[in-house]
């Protein structure tokens, strides 16, 4: 009996080690780090620190659609392949970071340029900042102080922040965006979870189209043309597919179960 127990114990330990993969629990990022993207396609090869991009600041000013559709940033980090020459030509980061004033009249620093004036020698570090002690122009705490709080992610309820008019994400960039009619949002719908007893997921098209438009999600993320035709599980979503494309990286994270699993539209 004792021997069997010892064998079982060692079998369990061996199985745990074998299936643990890295064996390290994922650390929850700090609010200001949630949505942070490090871009290093060419930076280090060019002798610069990798770029640190903060989603929290940019999403407070622009819709996801503007950057990921009109400007052309890919949805997966590192797959756009941004070069300094692209920025200099006025594309990608250079679409806004071009040294000209923005819609509020504030001069937006130039992202990349062939020459840097002596008084702007630290400008590169504003983006190429990984591992450097760079004081950001916007302080997360001060910037988000008035925003309604959320439980996870950035610790901000972005949906409420937008609904209350505390942020007005810009969806049109002169010279880049195309003038279009206002979007006609499709109907909200319910999705039944596989697990019995879990509240239905109410998906709000209206709330998603405010930030995303249509082509950001369809068909790249949600390919099924008929409701219910694509079956997806929480494992896939946690793995960064479907809802998980945004809700593991930028939008409120999947640990905030009740924001999706609700019978009333949230």
């Amino acid at each position: 009996m004792k021997r069997t127990l010892i064998i079982m114990f060692f079998v369990l330990i061996a199985a745990a080690v074998a299936f643990a993969q890295t064996g390290v629990k994922k650390k929850r990022p700090l609010p200001y780090d949630y949505g942070k993207v490090v871009i290093n396609n060419y930076s280090e090869k060019a002798g610069l620190a990798p770029v640190v991009f903060n989603h929290w600041l940019h999403r407070a000013k622009f819709t996801c659609r503007l950057c990921h559709v009109d400007v052309g940033f890919a949805m997966k980090a590192g797959t756009t392949g941004i070069k300094a020459s692209d920025n200099i030509s006025g594309y990608y980061c250079g679409s806004c970071h071009n040294g000209k004033p923005d819609a509020e009249g504030n001069k937006v620093f130039e992202s990349c340029s062939k020459t840097v004036p002596p008084d702007e020698k630290n400008r590169c570090q504003r983006c190429h900042s990984l591992g450097k002690n760079v004081k950001p122009a916007y302080d997360f705490g001060a910037f988000t102080e008035r925003f309604p709080k959320g439980r996870f992610g950035n610790g901000i309820d972005w949906e409420k922040t937008e609904a209350e008019g505390l942020v007005k994400p810009v969806d049109f960039l002169e010279g880049v965006s195309i003038k279009r009619q206002a979007i006609t949002a499709q109907k909200d719908f319910a999705l039944s979870p596989k697990l019995e007893g879990m509240p239905d997921i109410i998906f709000s098209h209206k709330k998603h189209t405010v930030w995303n438009g249509c082509e950001l999600c369809h068909p790249e993320i949600f390919v099924g043309v008929k409701k219910g035709s694509t079956k997806y599980s929480m494992i896939e979503i946690f793995d960064g597919k479907y809802c998980g494309v945004c809700h593991t990286s930028v939008a409120f994270p999947l640990t905030d179960c009740q924001r999706c699993h609700t019978k009333s539209v949230q």
Partner: protein
């Protein structure tokens, strides 16, 4: 009074120089030729319709998909940066139209 030959030449020139901007299938064997920068007008005309994609009939959607396909070669000739940006944008528009067409045909 102008000679008939001059009038013919003027008319022929008008025909030749007016069509490539908008594209004409009969002159180019089915493919569309875009004048420099005309591709952008066509790109904007196509991709400005993504917001209303659900309101289009299958025929209109098929036409938009064909227009995307016709425009692609013109974008492929652009410089590296523009090509990268606009091919991606065109792809997003085209795929949305295909998606909506599929959803309408599956109803």
């Amino acid at each position: 009074m102008k000679k008939p030959g001059t009038i013919f030449l003027l008319l022929a020139a008008a025909v030749v120089f007016s069509f490539p901007v908008t594209g004409i299938n009969s002159l180019t064997g089915g493919s569309v030729v875009f004048a420099q920068e005309a591709w952008k007008g066509e790109f904007e005309a196509i991709c400005s319709k993504t917001q209303d994609a659900m309101t289009f009939s299958p025929e209109e959607l098929k036409d938009l998909i064909t227009r995307c396909d016709n425009l692609k070669p013109a974008i492929e000739k652009l410089d590296e940066t523009q090509r990268k940006v606009y091919l991606k944008r065109l792809q997003l528009c085209r795929e949305l139209f295909v998606f909506v067409l599929g959803s309408k045909e599956n109803r």
